[in-house]
């Protein structure tokens, strides 16, 4: 045990090596997606042959890909807005509520986080067939808003965690209406929680593929469904460009969110 003499509590080298390997495993898929997107080959071979922007060109000019991208953005924006609206009001409603009933409501609102997506997808598909929502914008938006609610609820609830209810009483004793109190007292304090929740709801919808596969129609499919088809049906390498665009966009959004958040936190403390 040579290591034991080196420090009081050393970390063995093989442990460090394992952690580095695990860290690489986490980012491995991302490492492959980006180089693939510059391939000039028309297959999925790796390493990619040649260097070209052909796949990006196809992604941004081919109407089929552009339509899918547009559909995804519209669905995600609407679903995130709806989820943020109802999720934030629910978080405000649940704040400071104790007791069994409040706990049941919270569990109910969180249920889609633990239910397998495929079970939700199948149930929604069967019901939406009857309600004629399959392959429609309202269908996508409602389904995606429902699975986005838990993210908003969690982040707004945690933003409300440090919220002092005395402020509300102070505000109303000074004569402010509940709405005014919300806009001028509550809102600025929980804004970051709301934005975080909205971004998560957006990303969740934008990236959602299982439910979207069941709701798809030939005339209306989202980007993830188009990507799914490009692997299973068409063998279209444009998916590499699409993947790297999506990965870059989502990662930038998350990093910006995190950067803004951590700066605020250090400034506050």
């Amino acid at each position: 045990m040579r290591t034991r003499t080196r420090g009081v509590d050393p970390i063995p080298w093989w442990l460090k090596l394992t952690a580095v390997a695990v860290g690489l495993y986490f980012i491995l898929p991302t490492l492959f997606v980006i180089p693939m997107s510059f391939s000039s080959a028309s297959t999925f071979q790796f390493p990619p042959r040649g260097f070209s922007l052909r796949l990006y060109e196809n992604f941004f000019t081919n109407p089929a890909w552009l339509d899918a991208l547009g559909n995804s953005v519209i669905v995600a924006v609407l679903a995130a807005s709806l989820a943020t609206l109802v999720g934030t009001t629910a978080a405000l409603g649940l704040h400071n509520l104790r007791g069994r009933l409040a706990r049941y409501v919270r569990t109910l609102l969180m249920i889609s986080m633990v239910t397998p997506a495929i079970v939700i997808a199948v149930a929604i598909y069967i019901s939406f067939l009857q309600w004629q929502l399959v392959g429609t914008f309202p269908g996508y938006v409602l389904a995606h808003a429902a699975i986005g609610v838990p993210f908003v609820l969690v982040s707004v609830t945690s933003a409300l965690g440090g919220f002092d209810p005395k402020l509300l009483r102070a505000s109303s004793s000074l004569g402010a209406t509940p709405l005014r109190t919300f806009l001028t007292v509550t809102m600025p304090l929980i804004r970051r929680g709301i934005v975080t929740g909205a971004v998560f709801a957006f990303v969740t919808s934008f990236d959602e593929v299982v439910i979207a596969l069941f709701l798809r129609a030939p005339t209306l499919e989202t980007l993830p469904v188009k990507m799914y088809n490009s692997v299973t049906v068409e063998i279209d390498p444009t998916i590499a460009a699409s993947s790297s665009v999506v990965v870059t966009a989502v990662t930038s959004i998350c990093l910006v969110l995190q950067f803004v958040g951590s700066r605020k936190k250090t400034a506050g403390s």
Binding site: L28, F32, L94, L97, V114, A123, I126, M227, I239, C254
Partner: protein, 288 residues
């Protein structure tokens, strides 16, 4: 609602819950409830569809294969996640921040991009295959359960690392030093002191990863083989191809019940779901 009696204006606060409850009831609960009732037959009441699951010869095989795959993924996640979570507790604040960001990368990586990448990595003559060809071996994991396992472990590892990290950072390391000071071998000290203290995090991680593995649809469909499908594929197939809504509902309810029981168990042990939610929405949050 006895607790509310003391509040001056109890009703507006409950009204705030209505929009969310309405949305989730109509879009999730009603379809799931209809699925539940459909699983007992459209007309009359029968357990036939549940009985068929275990007697048709296919479903049971697929269920066992799914459980087996989930178990292997869970063990891999523990073996890789434990050292990583341990080193996170030992790293300085800056390195720990980086390690936390790396853990969360699978959350950010788009589902389709990730699965596409695994196809590239695992395909014939792909990077993994080429590497093993140097040793004269043919390792094509694409279109196999092994490939699905590799791809699933990667994305489920965060669900092991996060509860583990929160459990491990609560352990007082001085206990280990004391054990060593008293002459205990590091391995013995780990096994007798550290491991038992970390067991809460281990158990919630295990349950969480196993549970989430059961419902995977896209990865087995894209990286796996159609001949060796997992339960989610079977569920999808019964719904959209065979239009056997009652049979699909019964299978879906079985998966849902197993999942909810496991989640409730994990929740009892460590409040895992909310922990994951908080970690996911506040990525840089370090030690609680």
């Amino acid at each position: 609602m006895p607790g509310l009696a003391r509040r001056r204006t109890p009703s507006p606060q409950w009204l705030l819950l209505l929009p969310a409850l309405a949305l989730l009831t109509v879009i999730l609960l009603v379809p799931l409830g209809r699925s539940f009732s459909q699983s007992f037959g459209d007309t009359g009441w029968t357990l036939e569809h549940y009985k068929t699951l275990f007697t048709d010869g296919v479903t049971l095989t697929v269920l066992l294969r799914t459980a087996m795959t989930a178990a292997i993924v869970t063990v891999i996640a523990l073996l890789l996640g434990y050292p990583y979570a341990y080193l996170m507790t030992r790293a300085g604040p800056r390195l720990r921040g980086i390690m936390m960001v790396v853990v969360l990368v699978p959350f950010w990586t788009s589902v389709m991009a990730r699965n596409f990448a695994w196809i590239i990595i695992l395909q014939r003559n792909g990077p993994v295959d080429s590497f093993f060809q140097l040793f004269g071996l043919n390792v094509v994991l694409y279109e196999s359960v092994a490939g699905v396992t590799v791809a699933m472990s990667q994305v489920l590892l965060p669900f092991m690392v996060l509860p583990l990290f929160s459990a491990l950072s609560g352990i007082d390391r001085k206990l280990l030093l004391a054990a060593r000071g008293l002459g205990s071998h590091p391995v013995v000290a780990f096994w007798r002191i550290y491991w038992p203290l970390s067991r809460g995090g281990v158990v919630s991680g295990l349950i969480l990863v196993f549970t989430l593995s059961l419902g995977f649809y896209v990865t087995p469909a894209l990286v796996g083989s159609p001949q060796q499908s997992l339960v989610a594929q079977l569920l999808g197939q019964r719904t959209t191809q065979l239009l056997d809504f009652e049979g699909a509902s019964a299978l879906g309810m079985l998966v849902l019940i197993v999942t909810l029981v496991l989640v409730a168990w994990a929740n009892r042990i460590g409040g895992t779901i909310s922990a994951i939610g908080v970690a996911a929405s506040a990525p840089t949050k370090g030690r609680p």
